[in-house]
Amino acid sequence: MASHTTQEHTEVVTTLERPVYADMSVEVAPDPAVPALLIEHLTKRFEVGNRRKRKTVIAVNDVSLRMERGEIYGLLGANGSGKSTFIRLVSTLLSVEEGRVEVFGHDIARDEMAVKRLINRVSVDAAFFKKLSPAENLMYAARLYGVDARYARSEMVRILNRLGISSTRINRPLEQMSRGMQQKVSIARAFLTSPVLLLLDEPTTGLDPRSKLEVQEFVEEIRDQHDATIVLTTHDLEEAERLCSRIGLLNEGRLVAEGTVEELKAGVSNGRPGGATMHDVFMAYTGRSLDDDVEEPANDDE
């Protein structure tokens, strides 16, 4: 059993380590000496409301952090705290006007294409052409990311099988799959392109307990067997505690605390019997429960 598991791990690791951009490897090869992700004073403002009542909302407010290669960094925050905006900024889906973002030494504002080649993102909603099959969606991704088509065809089967999706299902439309299965395909799609920085934006939100566990186990495997660098945003305190080497707490766009689980708990324990929980940590730094919703500003552009 143990050897079987090891073999599966090896397969995953092989996938991640295989060079995809043979023609561009020099241009984008990540230097292990530089941080995987370096954020300095990152701020993102949006103008919201109509012309008569326009106001500025600061979604991410002066955030600075540094991630080393091989880390899984958890970003915890309530709805509307700025987690997804942060992920979108790093994914190049939002432009950086204030502050600096570097991915393996590549400045996102100056060298966007190099950053794009190094990252991939799994969003909370599995963004697919739902009428297309997993195979068709993954082949589309492979071509966009310059992965050889023959290699992609064999690898997608292997990764999907590893995630519990049988070969017989990969040619059926995604809309016939459960939400959990779709999210697994989304993760498989990200791994197919061998990102060195993986952005997981609430990958388990809305999944049934079993699917959630399977996704978490897969992320654990990556953590244990490979030096993949992952940013994981989540609502789930247990998930963050289980998977992340360090955690940052976002509240109203600000990074209000950062550290390992032990450091964060120690910081708020105040001699509590049995020590503090992550919920205590969250309450102490943000003054609210993680389940509290913050209304996202409506961007009425019409």
Binding site: Y21, D23, M24, F46, E47, T85, R88, S91, T92, L93, L94, S95, E97, M113, K116, R117, I119, N120, R121, S123, D125, A127, F128, F129, K130, K131, L132, E136, M139, Y140, A141, R143, L144, Y145, G146, P173, N299, D301, E302
Partner: protein
Amino acid sequence: MALLTRELRASYAFVERNFNLSKRYWGWEVAFLVYSVAGALAVTLIGLDQDNARLILSLMIGATFWNYLSVVFSVVAEQISWERWEGTLEYTMMAPVRRVSQLFGSTVFAVLWGLLHTSVVLIVLVLFFGIDLSRADFLTAGVLMAVGSLSIIGIGMIAATLPLIWVERGDQMVFVLQSLLLLISGVYYSVTILPEWMQVIAAFSPATYILDGIRLGLIDGAPVTSIGFSHLLPLVVMAVVFIPLGAWIFARAEAYAKRTGKLKRVG
């Protein structure tokens, strides 16, 4: 060279994806094709009702080639709204693909799909009306379609930015723009019957030159050399202007969308 190969592969991703989507939505594709054929037949039957062979040909050309131009325009112009509707816009925009490769892939598919669609319409019309095209100069029609497609693609690229900037109203604007092209370009009539101010606008529509030139080629057998200055040159100029302009405007619109968070929203 490696970069070019890689970008061409990325362009092919859009061609393959769109063909796959068309296959999966085959029911709708058949429905649209039937509608196009029925519409073209209905319009061309007006010529039969008037017992006017030239009118039949003129209407047939208008219906058929407008079908081609509108398919090309729609595919290019609606690529953003289509992806937004599917929920994949962010994924595509995040991929390491130059926007020009994305637009090129979409336009290659648009032209291939437009040709396929229009061939079916044309075959049905020719068979239905037993049209004699023995005098036709097909080279003229082919050259005008090829060169004219480029300028239509340029306008389509400009139109595609509308849903990027205005998430909900952008689609409506594209629809209005397409309707105006239909009105001013002499699809079913000569632009000379339009009010003078509309004729001025018609001079800026590539469809005006494409349709009129194809009519001259297919009905009167005019060789392409005879309409070089009057029809071909304006189309070349429009292609040279509209395609780079479309790419530039698209880049500006994308930057605006990234600054304001418009890629995220589902309209």
